[in-house]
C-alpha cells in the first residue's frame, strides 16, 4: 500500500513539474535594407518648418508644408520602390525603407509625382490601407475634383515688406499635379552609406532656396505666389516643377 501511495505521489509530482516545451531560437537571415531620407535645406543650412529664411530677392519666407510623391524609382530593371510619399511636417526626413541590395542601386531614375498608371485610380478602393496612395494616407494630396493626386506641395508665408517688421502676411502655395507635370529625375550616381545591421542609407538633399533662387528660372514670391497647376498657371507651375527637380540631389 505504501508503494502504491508513493507511486501516486511521484506521479503527481511528475505531472506538476512538466515543463513547457522550450522553442529553440530560430536564426533568421538578415535581409538587406535600403533607407532613403530627404533633408530639406535652404542653401547651406538645414531647413525647419516655420523658421525664417531669406531669398536672394531679400524676401523672408517660412515653409509650413513640404510634401511630394515619388513613383517607380529604379535602376534599370531593378525597382527600388513603387510609390512613396514624403511629408516633412508629419514624418521628418524619412522617405521610405525597403528591402534591397545596395549593389543594385548605384544609380536611380524615377518620377516626382504619381505616374499615370496610378494617378486616376480610386484612392479609396484601389489601394491597400498601407499604400501611400490610399486616401487615408494621401489626405490632402488628392484632388477629388480633378481625379488625381497633388504631386508636390510647397506652402508657406512670406514677408515682402523690407521694414524689419516680421509681418508674414502673405502666403505662397505651390501645388503641382496633373499628368502634364509629372516630373522625371535621373541620378547617375547614388552613394549609399553603410549604417550597419545590413542597412544602407541614402540622404538626398532638397534645397528649397533653389525654388526661388534658380539662375535661369527665378521665382519672385511677391508676385509668383500661387499655382494649383491650372491652365492659366502653366508658366509658374512649370517653373516650380523645374526648380524642384533641380533642388533634389542625390548623395
Amino acid at each position: 500500500m505504501k508503494y502504491f501511495i508513493l507511486s501516486i505521489c511521484v506521479g503527481l509530482l511528475a505531472v506538476s513539474c512538466k515543463k513547457e516545451k522550450v522553442e529553440e531560437p530560430v536564426v533568421t537571415p538578415v535581409t538587406p535594407q535600403l533607407k532613403v531620407t530627404v533633408q530639406p535645406v535652404f542653401g547651406a543650412e538645414n531647413l525647419y518648418i516655420d523658421s525664417v529664411y531669406t531669398t536672394s530677392d531679400g524676401w523672408d519666407v517660412k515653409f509650413t508644408e513640404v510634401k511630394f510623391y515619388l513613383t517607380h524609382w529604379a535602376n534599370g530593371a531593378n525597382e527600388l520602390i513603387d510609390v512613396a510619399r514624403f511629408d516633412y511636417t508629419e514624418n521628418g526626413t524619412k522617405c521610405f525603407q525597403v528591402e534591397g541590395d545596395v549593389a543594385n542601386f548605384g544609380a536611380l531614375t524615377g518620377n516626382i509625382g504619381v505616374s499615370t498608371d496610378y494617378n486616376h485610380d480610386d484612392p479609396s478602393s484601389d489601394f491597400s490601407a498601407d499604400s501611400p496612395l490610399n486616401i487615408m494616407n494621401a489626405n490632402n494630396m488628392h484632388w477629388s475634383w480633378a481625379s488625381g493626386y497633388i504631386f508636390v506641395i510647397l506652402e508657406g508665408r512670406s514677408d515682402t515688406i523690407p521694414n524689419g517688421i516680421p509681418l508674414f502676411d502673405h502666403t505662397f502655395t505651390y501645388h503641382i499635379g496633373s499628368d502634364t507635370y509629372l516630373g522625371s529625375e535621373n541620378f547617375p550616381t547614388v552613394n549609399w552609406t553603410d549604417a550597419g545591421n545590413a542597412l544602407n542609407t541614402a540622404e538626398f538633399k532638397l534645397d528649397l532656396k533653389h525654388i526661388f533662387d534658380n539662375a535661369t528660372n527665378p521665382i519672385d514670391v511677391r508676385s509668383e505666389y500661387m499655382t494649383h497647376s491650372g491652365g492659366s498657371e502653366a508658366a509658374l507651375t512649370q517653373k516650380v516643377l523645374t526648380n524642384f527637380l533641380e533642388a533634389l540631389t542625390a548623395p
Partner: protein, 359 residues
C-alpha cells in the same frame, strides 16, 4: 491512516481529472456597412467590432448614469436631432457650467486621426474617456460611473456578452462606445453621388435616381466650392470624408482668445489652429466653428467671403485673405449654400440603429 491518505489522494486525482476549462463567451463579428467609395476603416486590434460590443455601446451612448447626477448622456450634447451635435453654442454640464467650444458632430469617426477641436486625443477610445470625469461636463469619476453600471444586471450581462467579464471598467466602456461610434457612417447623400460622378465611380440604380434629383443650382454650387477663384473650399473639405486631416487657422480672429492646437503642442506656429471638421450634414449641425460663433450657413459663407482676419498662423490656403475673403456675390452665396445642403444624409440622421434603444 493509510486508507485515509489514499482517499484524500484519490479525491485529488478525481478533482484534477474533472477540472473543466472556463466556459468561454461567444461574440459575433460586426460587419461595417462601408460605402464603396470610402476607404477601409482602420479598426484597433484590441477592440474588434462585435454585435455585442456595438449594442452595448449604443446603450451606453444614451446612458445618463454616466453623469454625476444621472441627468445627461453622450447623446445629450450629441443629439440625433442635430446630426449628433449640440444646437447650443456651448454645451452645459451637470453643474450648469459651459465650456468654450462647440460640441463636434459625430460622424465617420472611424476614419479620424485626431479627436477634439485641438486634437488632444489620438484614438476614439482615448477620447471617450474624457467627458465623464470632466468637471464641466458629466463630472463623475469613472469608478463611480462604472459602479453604477455594475448595479444593473442588464449591464452586467451586456458587458459579459461583449467582453466576457462582469468585472468591467472604464476601458470596457470606452471600447464599447467606440465600437458603436464606428458604426455611425454617413456616405449616402447627394454629395456622394456627385463625388462618384466626378471620380468616374459606377452608379448603383439608387445613385442614378439620386443623380436625377440633383439640381443645376446644386451642381453650380459644387463648381464654386471646388473653384480656386470661387469659394475655394476644397483645400480643406475634400474627398469622401469631406475634410482633410489637419489643423488650420481659417482666419476667424486676428488675436486669439483660444489658442487651440497651440495649447496642445506648445508651438506658437499652431496658435489659433483647430481641427478641420467634416462638412457632412452641415445643414443640420449648427452652430458652426470651434466656438459655435456662427448660427447659420449664411454667417459661415459671409465669413469666408468678406470676414477673414489676417494673423501670423493663418492657413496659406486661405488664399484671398489679403482681401478679406473670396468675395462671393449674393447669387454665388445661394448656389454655395444649395451645394452645402447636398451633404445632408437623411438615411444617416434617421438611422434607427443610432437612436436610443428605449426612447
Amino acid at each position: 491512516m493509510n486508507r485515509l491518505l489514499f482517499v484524500i489522494l484519490a479525491g485529488i486525482v478525481v478533482f484534477q481529472a474533472c477540472k473543466k476549462d472556463q466556459v468561454g463567451y461567444q461574440t459575433t463579428p460586426y460587419e461595417l456597412a462601408i460605402p464603396s467609395h470610402f476607404p477601409d476603416m482602420p479598426i484597433p486590434e484590441d477592440n474588434p467590432m462585435t454585435e455585442e460590443g456595438v449594442l452595448l455601446g449604443r446603450m451606453l451612448f444614451y446612458e445618463k448614469q454616466l453623469s454625476g447626477d444621472n441627468s445627461i448622456s453622450c447623446g445629450t450634447c450629441h443629439s440625433p436631432e442635430t446630426a449628433f451635435s449640440d444646437a447650443n453654442q456651448f454645451s452645459t454640464g451637470i453643474d450648469g457650467i459651459q465650456g468654450n467650444r462647440n460640441s463636434m458632430a459625430l460622424v465617420n469617426l472611424g476614419w479620424q486621426t485626431s479627436f477634439f477641436w485641438d486634437g488632444r486625443s489620438h484614438t476614439l477610445e482615448e477620447q471617450i474617456l474624457e467627458p465623464v470625469p470632466n468637471p464641466i461636463e458629466m463630472h463623475q469619476t469613472w469608478t463611480k460611473a462604472v459602479g453604477k453600471l455594475k448595479q444593473d444586471v442588464e449591464y452586467r450581462n451586456a458587458f459579459y456578452r461583449a467582453f466576457g467579464t462582469v468585472d468591467f471598467d472604464s476601458t470596457h466602456v470606452s471600447k464599447a462606445l467606440a465600437q458603436f461610434l464606428r458604426t455611425m457612417i454617413s456616405g449616402n447623400s447627394k454629395y456622394d453621388v456627385i463625388y462618384k460622378y466626378v471620380n468616374s465611380i459606377p452608379f448603383s440604380a439608387q445613385d442614378q435616381q439620386v443623380w436625377n434629383t440633383i439640381t443645376t443650382d446644386e451642381l453650380a454650387g459644387y463648381d464654386l466650392f471646388q473653384s480656386l477663384n470661387g469659394a475655394d473650399c476644397f483645400h480643406c473639405h475634400n474627398g469622401p470624408l469631406m475634410q482633410v486631416q489637419k489643423f488650420s487657422n481659417n482666419g476667424l480672429d486676428a488675436v486669439f482668445t483660444d489658442l487651440g492646437r497651440g495649447i496642445i503642442t506648445g508651438n506658437p506656429a499652431d496658435n489659433g489652429k483647430f481641427k478641420v471638421p467634416t462638412l457632412r450634414n452641415i445643414e443640420l449641425s449648427a452652430p458652426y466653428m470651434h466656438d459655435g460663433r456662427f448660427a447659420t450657413l449664411d454667417d459661415v459663407i459671409e465669413h469666408y467671403s468678406t470676414g477673414i482676419h489676417q494673423s501670423a498662423t493663418i492657413d496659406p490656403l486661405i488664399e484671398f485673405a489679403s482681401q478679406g475673403g473670396v468675395q462671393l456675390d449674393p447669387d454665388q452665396r445661394l448656389l454655395l449654400k444649395a451645394f452645402l445642403k447636398t451633404l445632408t444624409d437623411q438615411e444617416f440622421v434617421t438611422n434607427p440603429n443610432f437612436q436610443p434603444l428605449n426612447p
